[in-house]
Point group: C2
Chain length 285, copies 2
Amino acid sequence: MELVRTADELAVRTAAARGRGEVVGLVPTMGALHDGHASLIATACAQCGFVVVSIFVNPLQFGPNEDFAHYPRRLEADLERAGEAGADLVFAPGVEELYPEPVHVTVHVGEPADILEGALRPGHFDGVATVLTRLFNLVGPARAYFGEKDYQQLVIVRDLVRELRLPAEIVNCPTLREADGLARSSRNAYLAPTERAVAPVLHRALVAGASAIAQGERDAAAVRRAMRAVAEAEQGVRVDYLEVADPERLRTLARVDGPVRLLGALRIGAVRLIDNLAAAPGVNP
Amino acid sequence: MELVRTADELAVRTAAARGRGEVVGLVPTMGALHDGHASLIATACAQCGFVVVSIFVNPLQFGPNEDFAHYPRRLEADLERAGEAGADLVFAPGVEELYPEPVHVTVHVGEPADILEGALRPGHFDGVATVLTRLFNLVGPARAYFGEKDYQQLVIVRDLVRELRLPAEIVNCPTLREADGLARSSRNAYLAPTERAVAPVLHRALVAGASAIAQGERDAAAVRRAMRAVAEAEQGVRVDYLEVADPERLRTLARVDGPVRLLGALRIGAVRLIDNLAAAPGVNP
């Protein structure tokens, strides 16, 4: 597996791969790779002859009071992880390489970028969309792989690719979880042991919501209350949101009439965790 | 020459051309093709094996009080024109084909999109950037051709391609003029005969500015006054702007210390005309 730092080198490698008739796959990451990323990379390797993993902590998607400076960066371990998972190339540009000058051009995403994560992190999804457009155009993947853990991001990435006509197929991969249900996330590394013990409550709350729906609850407000009751039973947990939304556009629902997506964000101490779950009447989680 | 209406058909044709090893060139237009467009197409044909002319009157780049509904549309004549100039394919999608649903994703361009044309046409350049990103991703051109007549657009398109890493080279082509100096433009068709007689005053004003600079004028305010005096000597002319700007970022200048760009916009009756000219100390226009 090769490490590439510049767009020019990357272009040479991807052109060569395409020249050999290989399908190029992209797994965009911010590094701090965990089993969830390894699973995305393995899926990409099963479907593509040449898999690029990008590692870039994108300043544009962090708010002024967020954890950009402290976001975990450990390239050596990431290279080993990506190589083990089967990646052919890691593209890890510096900030100056991907944003070499004042930024004049950004991508703006509308609904549903303004709700849920977007309401709490203004500009976050514009930053995601801008860096992904750059990365897609640099790598030119036929397929790109995203985890369902960032479900709202997945919806927005699908909008981005469809509307800007980026010539790539988006493949979504299921969320990988710890044995106790906690979704794998680079930010789990921030959790102190006592916080880590509490963290699975987010998944438990979502499961409680899905169970209520499975058992016939149609009132979305009642589902929200059921989820919140589970989350707030744990000490030191602050709920940012626990929501019942339509799975396509993430609009908040009043009634559950078919498949929905349950989405949640909690704060435990200084750490913020998000997760989500599919739910539908008659379907046990 | 072939007319193609859908993105799917277009993809088949451009993939075939690339498969034959041909360089794909794109000339994006809003139709109502004139000699200026023919010159762009001919330049593209000299440099590319497969030249696509897009014809699309983009609703996103028109303001609510602008001429979207009345913008000249004459596909039959355009097809003949494009074919004569050497185009291989005209891509003329309907609005539903290029914007098939509510638009969630747009491209936002900053400086210099907020001055000159942008100050008078809020959102105009965002609309231009959004449709061009879609067109570039659909056509996948190695080169795309733009006229210098829309000089501010050219600066912004260069930003767009460089920053979003669109894998295309931008080629700028000189403005084609009538014998009396009027820049070729689809909007010239709106001019009544008496207005047409007055219209060359825009080019004359810019030439007066360039002459003043050539002869040693260094005070940009004096150059602006010289241009304005020429324009306002004609009855029925309203000046939107006549500006002295740096040629790279279009920032307004106080002093002329090297090459500059002179940019102007006038209204004659209900018609709005724009034009521009390079100028430099010691260089006669």
